[in-house]
């Protein structure tokens, strides 16, 4: 409760700055319109106009809130104008991509920890893969998969997985290697097999690392799914919403979609956080 006031203060400051920027950035359009019509505008008129333009350079907070409200609650969820509909399209690709990425990440990490050849060879490639801009890869993935007859959810999920596997690999390699020499020696004194060492020691020891990675990776998955919607010219999904908004100068639509994505990401990270606390608590690793 004590943190509410600081949070509200910061939020208030952001809103005030935002309104200021709205007036400043949109004023040019108001003056241009007035000059064209040959009328003088007073300052209060300028302010009123900048906060209610149809296609502002920067929409005012209440316009974005209105757009969000209308998009999330003002439409039937099956409507093409509903942000719930578009959000679900993106979310489904995100979740599939997250599942693929996490699975691939864990498998790669297990391989890296247990196989020297993989240890030497996979990591540099994984790092290299992340240095390539996803925007450059995405169209190729879409085109190649489309030529194989694969369209729809899967190509987007692949791009999403491409972004999300990396944090999992890095975190899991670190986690699986977290048992120290003494713990490994101890397993040797029991004459434990590599499998037993993995299931009884390495895997449980890696759990805190895994959850830290999953939080990064789920947010990356969402970014991947949105980016995957851009080159395909998709008609649905938050990415499509962003794209069509920018085509037609519908800035309010862009910002509403952006905020939907942000809310979605925050929810996903929160869900992982809850899972983390529950799991670690059940494992006795949280006091």
């Amino acid at each position: 409760m004590r943190s509410v006031l600081p949070i509200l203060t910061v939020l208030g400051a952001i809103v005030v700055l935002w309104y200021g920027a709205t007036v400043w950035l949109n004023a040019q359009w108001t003056y241009d319109q007035a000059a064209r019509a040959g009328v003088e505008v007073s300052l209060p008129e300028v302010v009123t106009d900048t906060l209610s333009q149809e296609r502002p350079v920067l929409p005012a907070p209440h316009q974005v809130a209105g757009g969000l409200w209308d998009g999330l609650l003002g439409q039937k969820v099956t409507s093409k104008r509903s942000l719930v509909y578009h959000g679900w399209v993106t979310l489904s690709a995100t979740l599939l991509g997250f599942a693929i990425g996490t699975g691939a990440g864990i498998l790669l990490a297990v391989g890296i920890v247990h196989n020297r050849a993989m240890d030497m060879s996979v990591m540099p490639w994984a790092i290299a893969s992340q240095t390539i801009p996803i925007l450059a890869i995405a169209p190729m993935v879409i085109v190649v998969l489309a030529s194989l007859g694969i369209t729809g959810l899967l190509p987007k999920a692949m791009i999403s997985a491409y972004l999300s596997f990396f944090p999992v690999v890095v975190g899991m390699v670190k986690g699986l290697r977290s048992p120290d020499h003494m713990q490994l020696d101890q397993m040797r004194t029991y004459n434990a097999t590599r499998g037993q060492m993995f299931w009884k020691l390495r895997l449980p020891a890696s759990m805190p690392y895994l959850f830290a990675s999953l939080k990064v990776s789920v947010a990356a998955s969402l970014v991947g799914a949105i980016v995957g919607e851009l080159p395909a010219g998709a008609s649905s999904g938050l990415g499509a919403r962003l794209l069509s908004g920018s085509y037609y100068g519908q800035t309010i639509q862009i910002w509403s979609a952006l905020f939907t994505a942000a809310i979605l990401a925050a929810l996903l990270v929160m869900i992982i956080g809850v899972l983390e606390r529950r799991t670690l608590k059940r494992m006795g690793m949280v006091r």
Partner: protein
């Protein structure tokens, strides 16, 4: 004839054992020509300054290190075969309990790995927890226990599968003196009850003298044995035996051995 007599009672036999580590600064002689035999039921302490190879020797017995020369047999077989036959329990300097397992779960770990049946696991866990005075703590997590209790749990874990040999590498090194005294007393009782052969690495002269039937004094560079002292103290040892003249005489001899091994550095 005499040879078979000796080997019948001998559990650990090392002759001319050497171990050289190749490091960037050249070879390090961790052990050089170490010969020692340990009979069944003995409590043998290894004492010496850092780098004298006492831990390395214990790790050789446990087949966690491989000697570069000499022979070493444990229970009449090679150290590695003995490890695979689960001939010993090993207690490390840190308790090293898994934070995600309860105390009972930690003690059960080696039993799960060795494939004991569920009912036998439960039975043995209960038995060894009682042996180290931790009845009723099975459901607690390690962080809920003090350092001394954690170390007792780790001893219980090493005892759980009932190996004849118990190897302990400075198990009480990180504990304060009062807890240490108490655990030393407990360890002697446990040794008397279980009749195990114990190899015990320590830095502390009183600890070595109080616990052991045989004290092996070692010295560094290269790691070697400078003196082997057969203790004349009785098997029954109350804590105040440490004030007796006999105890002080043995402690003195250990100190002399340490000093001789150190040359003029002390």
């Amino acid at each position: 004839m005499k040879d078979t007599m000796v080997s019948a009672a001998t559990v650990i036999e090392a002759s001319d054992l050497s171990l050289t580590f190749d490091t960037n600064d050249g070879p390090v002689h961790a052990l050089k020509d170490v010969s020692l035999s340990i009979a069944k039921g003995e409590f043998v302490s290894f004492i010496g300054p850092s780098g004298c190879g006492k831990t390395t020797f214990l790790r050789c017995i446990a087949a966690l290190e491989t000697p570069t020369a000499g022979t070493l047999t444990v229970n009449g077989m090679s150290a590695d075969a003995a490890r695979r036959a689960r001939a010993y329990g090993y207690v490390f300097q840190a308790a090293g309990l898994y934070p995600w397992r309860t105390i009972a779960g930690n003690v059960r770990l080696p039993l799960e790995i060795m494939g004991f049946s569920k009912s036998e696991q439960a039975e043995r866990v209960e038995k060894v927890l009682a042996l180290v005075d931790l009845e009723g703590f099975g459901k607690k997590f390690p962080w809920q226990l003090s350092g001394g209790m954690q170390q007792r749990a780790s001893i219980a874990r090493a005892l759980a599968f009932d190996a004849d040999i118990l190897l302990m590498d400075e198990p009480f090194g990180a504990l304060d003196e009062i807890v240490r005294d108490h655990l030393n007393e407990e360890l002697l009782k446990l040794w008397a009850r279980t009749e195990k052969t114990i190899g015990f690495v320590t830095h502390s002269i009183p600890e070595a003298v109080y616990l052991s039937t045989k004290i092996v004094v070692m010295s560094p560079r290269p790691g070697r044995i400078t003196d082997v002292i057969e203790s004349t103290l009785p098997k029954e040892r109350p804590l105040d035996i440490r004030d007796s003249a006999e105890f002080i005489a043995i402690a003195h001899r250990v100190r002399e051995g340490l000093r001789a091994g150190h040359g003029d550095e002390v």
